[in-house]
């Protein structure tokens, strides 16, 4: 199974502590300076009027970055839209790395805002590739475990299906016993 179009969401830890509308101002320079190598950022979409919605999205051609509130949980979200070459481990690494880069940038930009270092969601944003079925979980689990062991450098983590509802996208919630490191922040 080739895991493409990965979404990684790292939840905010503790209280939110910021006005999400300020993230609009924060994302705009990313577009102006084209701050993410390999991603053409096009605009910032402010969707805060929608309850439990996508929040604020820096929309790109190859990927989106968001300060996301879907499911009622605030977090930083990376959504890969384009195909990524390589192995599943490399794709998981790429997506988590991109999400942590954004998380680090937001933490630097908003003192008091903290993202979890022990938990994230990994979702395959493509129902044809990964229908949300037990069979998909069974097939993907070894791949994801292998990728995460390489990426986190240990096997001390738990995986749980993100949502068992067949209409939802397939994904797992990763809970690591040890904190994982954030990549270098996106800088403008």
């Amino acid at each position: 199974m080739e895991l493409q179009h990965l979404v990684v969401k790292i939840p905010v830890e503790g209280s939110l502590g910021i006005d999400p509308a300020k993230v609009v101002d924060f994302f705009h320079p990313w577009v102006a300076k084209q701050a993410v190598p390999g991603v053409v950022l096009v605009d910032v979409a402010e969707l805060l009027h929608v309850p439990k919605g996508p929040g604020v999205v820096a929309v790109g051609v190859e990927a989106d970055y968001a300060f996301d509130h879907s499911d009622g949980v605030w977090g930083v979200l990376y959504r890969r839209k384009d195909v990524v070459k390589g192995t599943n481990a490399e794709r998981v690494s790429q997506a988590l790395g991109a999400a942590t880069q954004a998380a680090a940038a937001l933490e630097a930009g908003f003192p008091g805002l903290k993202f979890s270092r022990k938990e994230f969601e990994l979702i395959v944003n493509d129902r044809a590739i990964a229908p949300n079925l037990p069979a998909t979980y069974a097939a993907a689990l070894p791949e994801i475990e292998k990728a995460l062991k390489e990426l986190l450098g240990h096997g001390d983590f738990k995986l749980a299906r993100h949502d068992q509802e067949p209409r939802q996208r397939f994904g797992v919630t990763v809970t690591s016993a040890k904190p994982f490191a954030f990549a270098e922040a996106i800088a403008v």
């Binding site: 080739e2 493409q4 179009h5 509308a21 609009v24 101002d25 705009h28 577009v31 102006a32 084209q34 053409v40 096009v42 605009d43 979409a45 402010e46 969707l47 805060l48 009027h49 929608v50 309850p51 439990k52 919605g53 996508p54 999205v57 929309v59 051609v61 989106d64 879907s70 499911d71 839209k81 384009d82 195909v83 944003n125 493509d126 129902r127 044809a128 590739i129 209409r167 996208r169």
Partner: protein
Amino acid sequence: MKASNAIWKERLKGKLPEPLGSELDQYEVEIGLKLQGKLDDKFFAETRLRRGSYGQRYDNGQRYDGTESRKLPFADKPGKGAGTQWDAPGMQRIKVPFGGLNPAQLEVMADLAEEYSDGIAHVTTRQDFQLHFIHVENAPTLMRRLAEVNITTREACGNAVRNVTACPIAGVCRDEAFDVTPYARVLAKFLMGHPDTMEFGRKFKPAFSGCAQHACALVQMHDIGYVAAMREESGQMRRGFKIVVGGGLGPVPRQARVLTEWAPVEEMLPLTQAVCRVFGRHGEKKNRNAARIKFLVDKWGIEKFREEVAAVRKELREDPRWHDMLREVDRDTESALRPPGKLPELGGDAQLREWVKRNVADQRQEGYVTATVALPLGDITATQLRALADIVRKYTRGTLRTTVEQNFLIRWISKADVPALYADLKKADLGQPGASSIVDVVTCPGTDTCKLGISSSRGLGGELRQRLLTKGVELDEAIQGLHIKASGCFNSCGCHHIADLGFYGVSRTINGYKVPHFQVVVGGQWENNAGSYGLPIIALPSKRIPDAVDRITGYYAQNRQKSEKFFEFVKRVGKGPIRELLEPLNTNFPAHDAEPGFYTDWGDPRAYSIGDIGIGECAGEVVSRFVFDMTAAERLVFEAGLELDKNDPQKGGETAYAAFRMAAKALVQFQYDDISDDPDEIMAEFKERFFDTNLFHDPFVGPKFANFYFAAHAGRADKFDAATAHHRIAEAQLFIEAVHACYNKLRTTPAAATA
């Protein structure tokens, strides 16, 4: 591009209705050929548009970042036509005839929003859906997945018959003549790809209403509108339609005119086909700004148009589908899932009571109600769409409608189920009260995603909605019933002309900086199927619009007579006092450094102006003079509206021309100090300096606004009636906006300014 496109193609092979399946295969081939540079730009653009794939803001690869316009580093690939870059995200419009949907369709919409867009599906003012940020190479897959649940995007854009809209309470309405739903469905099917619709120079929008008095379908603002009516013939009651043509909003709105007071339903298809053939044959093709059917009706007059349609009707070859397609109409009805009931005691739940008051309405069928699911700015998440699908399955036989107010309407709810329905909607964050009230603000996409947006209509709409929700039930009952609609530009996709309080985006210069503004439009009529259109009274900075709303609504609450609707109130008190109320908001502007936020748009921190405009002493003088003259021109337009209100269309039309002349003179004066007041000289100088040089050309509508001036000049001795005076006034306002835009352009290109 999605890795799964090939999987979906294989999975859905042979499962899609024909010819749609083959057409999508063909579209995919065309996309491949275009990418290889083997297809003409113009051809591909029209092909793409006819499949509902629209351009989006910044798709030309340029984006202003607050200090300068920069190139977006899209990959170097052939364009998609009309100057759009290949990888630039686009908008996908999805047709929903009469707004009718089922749960499976909602679920597919949810999946597509999640997998191809930003997680949001947007309901439009014409009952369509729109998904934004779609890559063109994913579009065929998206369309296949829609086709699997009987949804098409075909002819959702382009010079085609657009979505056939209809009253969302058709079939359950207490006032309708009969249920128009099956007729809307039949017409949509009949016209799709019909040979007589292939020669249109512009789009063509049909709408159906079950009655004349309500606003649910807004037929008066449509290219063709059908109002259900019953008539007794030979002792039998027969179904038919009053058919109107040539309505439309856009920059200069038109009320539709009566093609026929009554045509039996059997004549609906042939008569429509005849209208289409007449429009295809005689409608303007070269100048897209005068190509809607309303211009043909204007040019000919309704009598000649009617005669031509009658002549063409006689020449049409009999088509068996005219009758065959109507055979099933009486079987095409919805019914209830649950038995009728009585509304239970609502108890102390104030939110539930408020929701029932605003969002729930009795059906004609005893024991049933409709419930409006109010969406903020027409937006709904994928998760909410799935929840809504479940709710629709639970309480109905699996049907619901979108509305022209960008909401959903669930029908056939047993009254006994109302509290449980509310609880389920609330759980999905869909239990927002205030449907069709002042908080239910309607907007077009504006500068968020639209290429034509001037000001942020969604930003303004969101701000107004939030402020009004906070005030909530404290608002006077009369105020709660008002409608607010905002468009990001004069093109009226937000339907500002028919709102109680309408706004459309313009820009102005304050202290040397461009500042987003909105024209305030009052006097429009939502009722009677969009029975009359408002006129702008003043342009205000965007950030002062919420104050303007407070002032106007407060004035209305204090001074209205019992049961007086807002448009009646405006007619009685006149626009003058309302403008006076707002004029203080157009003074005492903060300095840029003291309050930079005043100079930006709602929800967008970028500087709105192109920035760094030097204001020397000389320029300062010129600015003052220009502003002085333009203020006079705007006042003249306003006064023209007052004359019209006083039932003096002649004076209204003449005053509007004076406004044209004043604005033209202001612009000419920018280059030529010694311009006289002679109308012919102003006209000649304007033409030579700005029209012939293309300086006045709008990037999107070309010479349209200059042509308004030329026509007004040529017809300055014309006789005006109410309609022609209204048009002249609206055109004068647009000309003034264009003069502002040209002036701003001149100020940033000094060579042109002194040419």
